[in-house]
């Protein structure tokens, strides 16, 4: 087997201390540089799975291999350097008193020199488009800015794998677009847990669908995230454009547009449909 697999999860099961089962026999593999959407209704086990991949939740029921290293107590510090987690609520992620200290927290703990830390902070803030925010206090930032700084706190550790929990939730359209564009520029392997199917279609190549702690479907995101029946049966909803046109139109649209274009040209497509040009699109 080639070594380009960043994440290998085999037979992972987990039950919360109160007895609630969270993960059941979860298995999947993710290759280097892949962007994977992790979808599922609330309580499906998405966040719990992400916390396992970073070693925050210790669990011996199953096997996790991250960039060639098996996740165990001995390897946890190394694995945390390779796997960055961006949590849903930026107020949980930004716990220091200034943006600089927050972004520098990871690199300092990794033992880098002062100069390197400063350089990494500068670069990370540049990547998320918030240079000059170093001395700001997190409680004086907007929610969108906090989200982007949260991403920067992890980028400064230059992780091989980036795990993001609901990166676009509670954002206004502008803030959401900023986050999407920022994520698209990052090269690392990404797992994005979200309910924002449209943004996932734009960012991710593949998708994992979870329900009640199990992986129920894996595949190309354009197949999984546009399958109205599949999504509905697991408490999710397809994007409005897919619902309007029907899921069989997506493969045909894909030949002409990529997923981001489908989203951007939503109005045009609607217009085309309303003018009864649906047949022309299908024929093409």
């Amino acid at each position: 087997m080639s070594d380009n697999r960043d994440i290998i999860v085999k037979n992972l099961s987990y039950t919360y201390p109160d007895g609630t089962p969270a993960l059941k026999d979860v298995c999947f593999e993710i290759t280097k540089g892949e962007n994977v959407a992790l979808v599922g209704q609330n309580g499906a086990g998405k966040s719990t799975l992400l916390l396992h991949l970073n070693g925050v939740i210790e669990n011996n029921n199953g096997c996790i291999t991250i960039v060639g290293k098996q996740l165990d107590k001995k390897n946890v510090p190394d694995i945390r350097k390779k796997v960055g987690v961006v949590f849903q609520d930026p107020d949980d992620q930004l716990f220091m008193s200034t943006v600089f200290d927050d972004v520098a927290f990871g690199p300092i703990n990794m033992g880098f020199s002062e100069e390197t830390v400063k350089e990494r902070v500068k670069k990370s803030l540049q990547k998320v488009g918030l240079s000059g925010f170093e001395e700001r206090c997190p409680h004086h930032l907007s929610f969108g800015e906090k989200k982007r700084i949260s991403v920067a706190t992890v980028l400064s550790m230059t992780p091989d794998i980036l795990l993001l929990d609901e990166p676009t939730s509670n954002l206004d359209p502008g803030g959401r677009r900023n986050i999407i564009e920022t994520l698209k520029t990052l090269d690392s392997t990404k797992i994005i847990a979200s309910h924002d199917i449209e943004s996932l279609l734009e960012i991710c190549d593949n998708a994992i669908l979870m329900d009640k702690g199990r992986v129920v479907a894996t595949g190309r995101s354009e197949d999984i995230l546009t399958d109205i029946e599949l999504l509905n049966s697991h408490g999710l909803e397809a994007p409005s454009i897919v619902k309007m046109l029907g899921d069989d139109v997506i493969p045909l649209l894909r030949d002409n547009f990529d997923s981001s274009q489908i989203k951007r040209h939503e109005k045009t497509i609607k217009k085309a449909i309303s003018k009864k040009r649906k047949k022309e699109i299908f024929c093409k």
């Binding site: 916390l51 970073n54 925050v56 510090p77 945390r80 350097k81 796997v83 960055g84 987690v85 949590f87 609520d89 107020d91 949980d92 992620q93 716990f95 220091m96 008193s97 200034t98 600089f100 200290d101 520098a104 927290f105 990871g106 300092i108 703990n109 990794m110 002062e114 830390v117 400063k118 206090c137 997190p138 409680h139 706190t153 992890v154 550790m157």
Partner: protein
């Protein structure tokens, strides 16, 4: 949402605002100890006047200081009222059947002058720098890491918790609780406080996880860019010399000498 104006006057321009925080804290602490150790009431008065001058130099609005002063003033006022009646000594005068002693009046004045001077000095020391810088200064002075972390977290999350509390209060008032009985209102308020505590606890857990995932190992290190300049050294020297001078005045009995000279 309302935020506390803790850093409100940290951005003014005065000789104390651009003073190296480490030097500033050390010098002011020295001055505070120097004043606390004084016993001569005349020197204490001089120290008090010098403190007022330092506050004026810091450009912090007096109204801001007075607002924060009222609770301390209340405490000092209680001392001022009680001591003249309770300290034994030569009677100065009577109020009704209560005797007021000379030594009581002197002690009360001494305590009040010391307390007011120390309280006033806190403003040019702390209000002229951002609270974050103060935390870094504590860290630099090797104050126990756990204590610094606690102060840092309180500063970071007091705003978040306060916002959560205000949101819940607003939600309650939007459902018209105000019209209910007082007991019912107290019951609701205790529920809100309880919920805020539970939420804070849960948030604490999530923050711990976020810290662990970024390599937290119990110690929290930060970088700082403190630099001592020549100007800082001059300011330091002035405050240190003044702190020592206050005691030199007492030791050399200069004030007594002046009185003797005047009487001659």
């Amino acid at each position: 949402m309302t935020h506390f104006d803790i850093d409100k006057y940290a951005y003014l321009k005065s000789p104390f605002h651009n003073f190296d925080p480490r030097a500033k804290v050390l010098c002011f602490l020295l001055l505070i100890f120097s004043i606390v150790l004084l016993n001569d009431i005349r020197v204490l008065l001089i120290a008090f006047i010098s403190t007022i001058i330092l506050v004026l130099i810091s450009k912090i609005p007096l109204l801001f200081i007075l607002k924060r002063f009222k609770w301390v003033a209340l405490f000092i006022f209680a001392v001022l009222v009680v001591l003249p009646f309770t300290v034994p000594g030569e009677n100065a005068f009577y109020i009704g059947f209560l005797s007021v002693s000379h030594s009581g009046i002197l002690l009360a004045t001494r305590v009040s002058l010391k307390a007011f001077s120390v309280m006033l000095l806190i403003f040019p020391m702390l209000s002229t720098m951002k609270f974050v810088i103060f935390i870094k200064t504590l860290e630099h002075f090797k104050i126990p890491d756990k204590l610094v972390q606690m102060i840092s977290f309180i500063y970071r999350y007091i705003f978040v918790v306060s916002n959560e509390f205000q949101r819940t209060l607003r939600s309650v008032s939007s459902r018209n609780v105000g019209k209910k009985t007082r007991i019912f209102r107290h019951h609701i308020l205790s529920n809100i406080i309880g919920m805020t505590l539970v939420r804070s606890y849960e948030r604490g857990e999530r923050i711990r996880i976020a810290m662990l995932s970024r390599g937290y190992n119990g110690n929290m290190k930060t970088l700082n860019s403190f630099r001592m300049t020549k100007k800082d050294l001059i300011k330091c020297s002035i405050i240190i010399i003044w702190s020592i001078s206050l005691h030199v005045i007492v030791l050399t009995k200069i004030l007594d000498l002046a009185r003797v000279v005047n009487s001659v």
